[in-house]
């Protein structure tokens, strides 16, 4: 379509870049999640349920 300003082998490269980038994000988030101590996890999960003392 265009003058060859951009890479000709996108079809071969794009899936690899996509997969590596996504895998990296998934992996980082997974490691981060697994590193979270159980008690801390529970504490954060309970945040919406901890209602402060209501005042009437």
């Amino acid at each position: 379509m265009f003058k060859r300003v951009i890479y000709e082998d996108w079809a071969a490269i794009v899936p690899i870049i996509s997969f590596i980038a996504t895998a990296a994000v998934f992996l980082t988030a997974t490691i981060r999640a697994l590193c979270l101590p159980k008690a801390r996890c529970q504490e954060l999960a309970d945040l919406p349920l901890e209602d402060p003392t209501p005042r009437r």
Binding site: Y7, W10, S18, R32
Partner: protein
Amino acid sequence: MSNTATITYDDKSVRHFMNASIFWGIIGMIVGVLAATQLSWWQMNGKFLETITFGLVKSEGLSYITFGRIRPLHTNAVIFAFVGNMVFAGVYYSTQRLCRVRTASDLLSKIHFWGWQLIIVGAAVTLPAGLTRGKEYAELIWPLNIAVVVIWVVFGLNFFLTLARRNERSLYVSLWFYIATIVTIAMLYIVNHLSLPTSLLHSYPIFGGVQDGLVQWWYGHNAVAFFLTTPILGIMYYFIPKAADRPVYSYRLSIIHFWALVFIYIWAGPHHLLNTALPRWLQMLGMLFSVMLWAPSWAGMLNGLLTLRGAWDKLRTDPVIKFFAAAVTFYGMATFEGPLLSIRAVNALSHYTDWTVGHVHSGALGWNGFMAAGMFYWLAPRLWRTKLWSTSLANMHFWVGLVGILLYVASMWVAGIMQGLMLAQTNPDGATLKYEFVETLNSINIYYGIRSFGGFLFLTGFLMCAVNIFMTARKGRAEDETVEVTVLEKASKDRMTLSEALSSDPVVHAVLALAFMILWFLLPPHADKAALVVTILLIAKSVSAFRAGKGTWSDYFNRLLENYLPFTVLIFAAAAVGGLVQIIPSLLVNRAVNVEDRVQVPYTPLELAGRDIYVAEGCYNCHSQMIRTLVPDVLRYGPGEDQGYSRLGESIYDHPYQWGSKRTGPDLAREGGALVKDAKLMRSGKRDNLWHFNHFLDPRQMSSGSNMPAYPWLFENKTALKELPAKIAAQARLGVPWPAMTKDGIEQNARDQAMEIASSLVTAGAFLPDKPDLGPEELRRHLSETQIVALIAYVQKIGVYAPVEKPPVKNPTLDPDAHRSSSTR
């Protein structure tokens, strides 16, 4: 040292937003039902007024309610007015409680509320009047765009100030989703609404053709992502645990869900442009990321549904749980279907059909609509300090709404797949198509009727909701909640500076490794190998730094959670990277100067005026201007040697682009044609001027069975020639190669072309039923000034191109694109 304080939450704003959401939701749904019925019965575009007024009102069609104008009204009302107000209600309610602090500024809350409602009113006035930018979900005119940005900034400021004053050290996952929504929507909205105004009510988008298409769907797809999904997920993570009275199923899963979703979603926009003239690498990216999006979407769905573990018994009695469970299930279904439709082969069948319409409505009605209803039913008793007025009415709403959604979605699946298959069906010779477009339309008319009924049922459900909430409010009393909270000292939160956050080990390693990995792909031979070696070394170094740090890396992430500004920057980076990779190369490269093969022939002044009428009437809602790289598309719309599929260069000067995303009528990309013999400016394409004239006057006269509205006002309204100089000047500044012309020259050129077309119409026997007494000369003069002639001028120009000599391709690779471009076809 910590002490306690008594605070009163601002629940008034929540009540306001909730009431506004219900009100505008009903309006948006009424408009939606009207639009749906117009597709089954063309008379619903205005002719029905004759029937219901027993002939008092004479109307072949009413411009303000014609499909092309009210379809954008429906989408904008439902997205920004219904879901928008619902989101603000949920965000204001949950943020205060998760931060244990009252919203930072009552004044900002008030400005936000009233500003947003005024914008909605502005949209409700301008869209039916035909004032539009002509881009889906981005139709509002530029003054309203600026208002949206201002109000969004007000909302963001109020939200972040509330975070800054919070009395809770950590940010709960809902708040992450709200942050992602605020920063990403700001980015998307601003970029896609960059325009050059030509008057107070009109502007041209700064991008044209393929660039405009890419930016549009980067925005359009991510409006679904960051306006209709992420804030609702934040609401889900707060309200489902509250309703079920148990914590979220897996907080760890929510972390993975959030980061993966925010990172991946933004890349998927090009799946709206599969098999089109969009460069292949972008299509590939869009498809791949859409398929990968399955995982985080389902992580969210599972986390939501499994939170109800142990609370399933409430499903029988509590309508709130019913709505939430169904909503999350619909979210799962829609996010299964989305990736499926993003597979190029499947998209070849589904795109431009009602399958897509069914898909978005399973999300909009099921996910958004039911989440909203569940939240409203949970909030109302708490906001008005009473019990819900009628649980059984809420249950009735659930079942009526559910049946409505199922009828809607199922009918659209059948209609879409059926029409897609019919359009591609060939005769036994294999070289010609079996069905005319209008035949396929008539075959699915019954499903359009079922869809209208389904939509009507869903609307009925929401009317029940409105009654229930209204009666609950009447029964109770509006009172803001007052609580006692432990005040968090400033020193114990937000201690990490921005520079500290950005220069920390994990960030530096990640950024450097990614940078060198990208260089590995892009650098010339040998230099790329060096970049790969550096990438590997960096990864090895980061692993050793992670081990040596003994918890400092995970501690860094924990600290981020307690420091909202660095956390926001990180979220923005995750969301922005996909857009940068796709859009920047496209803006740099996909320009007219680089076009090969074919380049668009610019419009004349009258054709531009006609194009603006085409955009104003919302023709893009039903007609595409893009012949896909698919055999059935080419056979139907571009079978000629010099036609074929649409090339990228053929719409390069189009501001806005008009490729469309739904074909209720046939594609128009090859409608135009060459100059008529002996004419100076007039062209004639597939059909002559008289055919178009009669078609706009009464579509069924020319195409039996058509559901297109009649456009009688185009035969009366005058073309705004005075506006042309400013419009042409704006286009010239955007790079469209207009020849040098004076103001008078522009107007004269337009008048000359209009007169040529009007003369040809009178000669061919054009007749105006409303003006039977006009003689040929009077009719010619009358027509030459009307919008219909300008519109005909434009239609006769669509797809006209000039060939561009192809340079030889050096070193052709195994990339099929390269082979095609190097062939001599």
